[in-house]
Symmetry: C2
Subunit: 83 residues, 2 copies
DNA sequence: TACTATACCGGTATTTGAATGACGGCCGGG
DNA sequence: CCCGGCCGTCATTCAAATACCGGTATAGTA
């Protein structure tokens, strides 16, 4: 085994992360937030919809910064089940 | 351009992140910390040496948890220059 | 009703990198 | 001398990030 495919748990965890980001975005548009965070709108959409379940550390950091979220709190909320 | 190659700034940022993790690990062995975090020793070494400059969010989270580091503080320390 | 614009979604395709494993080498302590 | 720990390199597989397409839903305008 070289690069273990993502487990269902990891995908669920990614979905929760996406939902948290979506919630924090509120009424703002994807394009707006994505541009401010320095990522493409497509990437943000993939993360929010859970199609990119394990985004890069600094990608999440940039989004958290724009959305005014704490990394620790974000992690705690989406890892509560996964541990 | 589809997947912009990592910029030198991003690589430097990754190196700082690695140095911080290395520092926090202290006298503990790589294999020990890696096992506890649920990643391979090779992966931990790559991150510490900066050869994996943009690790996954949950990978960093697992290491931070084992090393007793705050995600926000970790981010602040390695992003001070890159902004 | 029809036209237009915005915002989001699903799928597809592409490139680059993360994550892992394996082998060999180097160094310091038992 | 050997063993633990770390490093470098090579090879492999899967996913992140990006872009483009068409589709849907909603709101505004005429």
């Amino acid at each position: 085994m070289v690069r273990t495919p993502l487990t269902p748990e990891e995908r669920e965890r990614g979905e929760r992360l996406g939902q948290l980001l979506r919630l924090a975005r509120g009424p703002r548009s994807m394009a707006d937030v994505a541009a401010e965070a320095g990522v493409s709108a497509e990437t943000l959409r993939k993360i929010e919809t859970g199609r990119a379940p394990t985004p890069a550390f600094f990608t999440v950091a940039a989004l958290a910064r724009v959305l005014g979220l704490s990394m620790d709190e974000l992690l705690a909320r989406c890892a509560m089940v996964a541990a």
